[in-house]
Structure formats: C-alpha cells, structure tokens
Symmetry: C2
Subunit: 194 residues, 2 copies
C-alpha cells in the first residue's frame, strides 16, 4: 500500500481515472488542467502521451506549493489514425466503424510531479485491443446512449455496454481504462522513497 | 442491447459476476446453487469449468418453471497446479507467492439454461495473466485485508489493491474478473433469437 502524508492532486476530471486511484487507496483532490491536447506529429505516440501528461501535471503544479500532482493522457491509434474524443455523434459512429473487427492500440502516459521540488517522473504504457465485428445497430444504439462522447476512441471498456465490443486484450487492462495502474503504482512507490 | 421479457436467474453469489451482468443491462435475481466444486482430473481445465458452470445452472433451473439461468465457474491454473479459493490465510499467502513474477491462466466457463425447455448453451474462455514480482510485505498486507479469501487464486483483479499485482493480460479481461462478458453476450443474443 502507498504510505505517505503528502496530498495528491489529480490533474484530470476523468471519473475513470479517479476510480482507479481510489481502488489502490489513494486520496486526492481534483484540479483540471485545461491544457490543449495538441499532438506533435514529430514525436512517437508514446512520447506524445508522456509529454501531454507532463504538461497537464506541470500546469496544475504551478498552482500549488506542496503536494503531488498526477497527470495522464490517453490516445487511441487505429492503423495510422489517432482517435481522440469524438467531435460529434457522427464522428463517434465513424470511429466505432473503424475499430470494428480490428486491433488497435491504446497509449496512456502518466506524470508524477512534486509541486514543491518540481521533481518529476514520466512514463507510459501501451495495450493492444481487438474489437469483435460490431453491427450497425449496435453502433447506433451505443452512440445514442451518449457514452462515447467523452472518451478517446469513442468507447469505454469499463463503464458500460462498450465492454462487450472488446474480444481480446494484450497488455495492461487499466491503460485502456485510461490510467496504467500497475506501472504508476510502482513508479509512485519509488518516487516517495527517493 | 439484450431485449427480452424473460427473467434471468444468476446461479452465483459472486458480486463481481453480478456487477458484470448489470454493466450490460441485464436484470436478474440471485439463486445460489450449492453445487460442490469438484474437478474431474480426466477432463481438461476448459471442460471442467464448462461442466461445473452447467451443473450449477441445472441445479438452480430445477427450482424454476420458467426463466433463464446463468451459471459460471472459474479456476486459476499456475504451472500444473489448480488454485481454487484459499482454505486459510496461510494458503492464500502460498498461492500469491506461487503467482508472483510468473504467468498463470484463468479459465472461466459459463452456461445458459432455459428453465422451461431445458435448452442449454455452454462455453468457456481462457486468459493469460502475468504478475509482477510481489514483495513479502505486499503479500502479507493483501492477505491481512481479507480480500483473497473468497477468490480463486487468492486475488481479485477488479475490486481492490490486487489490481496492481497484474502486469499484463492476454485475452479477455472479464474472464479474469470471473465472467467472460463478451463471449456470454454473443451467446445470449443467439440463444434468445433461436
């Protein structure tokens, strides 16, 4: 278990990330970063999610004189296309059609920043996800539920009905939920000890 | 989504299985089977979990004249050893030491039985799970929490702190939670249409 008296600040308003942190017993407040999620085409996908998670954590850390800020960023990559949060319901349906019956990769980066010392750890994890073939009706119903709209790649593996789109995973499950829990936990333990 | 007026009965008191069924919008009552979970060494692991899930579903179906009964059974296999629910805290610690730093396989079988016609579908799914190396202290703390005691293999991937033992998955995540949600969903759709 994590043992520390330091306060944690989560630089994300994602309820999924919050739930994962709670699951391993971390108490935290939420402070959203408002960083624009702009990807750098000159960087790898892994470098991009690391860089964005760090930008978010540093932006929030600048408001505090103590505490540990946790930043995170997730992107979904299908073929060479990056799928962020859908801009519209039509966009969400197009994303789901692209994911249907194929394997894509989810990249999630995380950063841990000590607001006082500005000491930082950044890392990322990637997981391969295979969707079964979805029917047009399933896509229509899922989009109509509104669930895809706040999620990169237009689906949530944990929350709801989106779970039964996924046939197979290779790698860390929590990376797909939006936060690489095991890798983060090990990194945080080291961070607090050093 | 699943559309039917039939009533569902879950032949398991596992809160994890109940949560997964709720996640895909199925409403059900719970009726525990009390079937002895005795494995047949002459059968494969997959055949065993299928057979036990069916025994549970049929035992419960015998109490009803209508409705659809869902049975399920999970075993954890490490090397050639089958890990069921731990008999004691000492047993739980021994299981976790055996899983530490290695890959094991989780088998989950499910059965769907129409209580009226006795029509049946049975299937199973297997997933490979890799644990990171656990410290003695982590094992001690996790066992002390009581969490391992009602779980095959002495850990829960979803509920709690056990999540950060898992480094990597290959296959269906929900099979490890204790119910192969995607495969079940597809089988149930076919079952209700035919």
């Amino acid at each position: 278990m994590i043992r520390t008296k330091k306060k944690f600040i989560l630089a994300s308003r994602s309820p999924r990330r919050a739930n994962l942190l709670r699951q391993i017993g971390i108490k935290f407040s939420v402070h959203e970063s408002n960083v624009d999620e702009v990807l750098d085409p000159g960087k790898t996908f892994g470098e991009n999610v690391k860089s964005l998670s760090l930008q978010k954590a540093l932006a929030v850390a600048s408001h505090y004189t103590s505490g540990i800020v946790i930043g995170s960023d997730t992107i979904v990559v299908a073929g060479k296309r990056i799928l962020g949060k859908p801009a519209s319901r039509k966009d969400a349906a197009a994303m789901l059609r692209q994911l249907s019956g194929r394997t894509h990769t989810v990249f999630t980066g995380f950063s841990i920043v000590d607001a006082k010392s500005k000491r930082t750890v950044v890392d990322c994890e990637e997981t391969k996800v295979t969707f079964r073939r979805l029917s047009d009706r399933e896509i229509r119903e899922y989009v109509r539920s509104g669930s895809p709209m706040d999620k990169a790649g237009a689906y949530g593996i944990q929350d709801d009905y989106g779970a039964v789109f996924v046939e197979r995973l290779e790698g860390c499950y929590y990376t797909v939920v939006g936060f690489p829990l095991t890798k983060f936990y090990i990194a945080l333990q080291k961070f607090l000890q050093s």
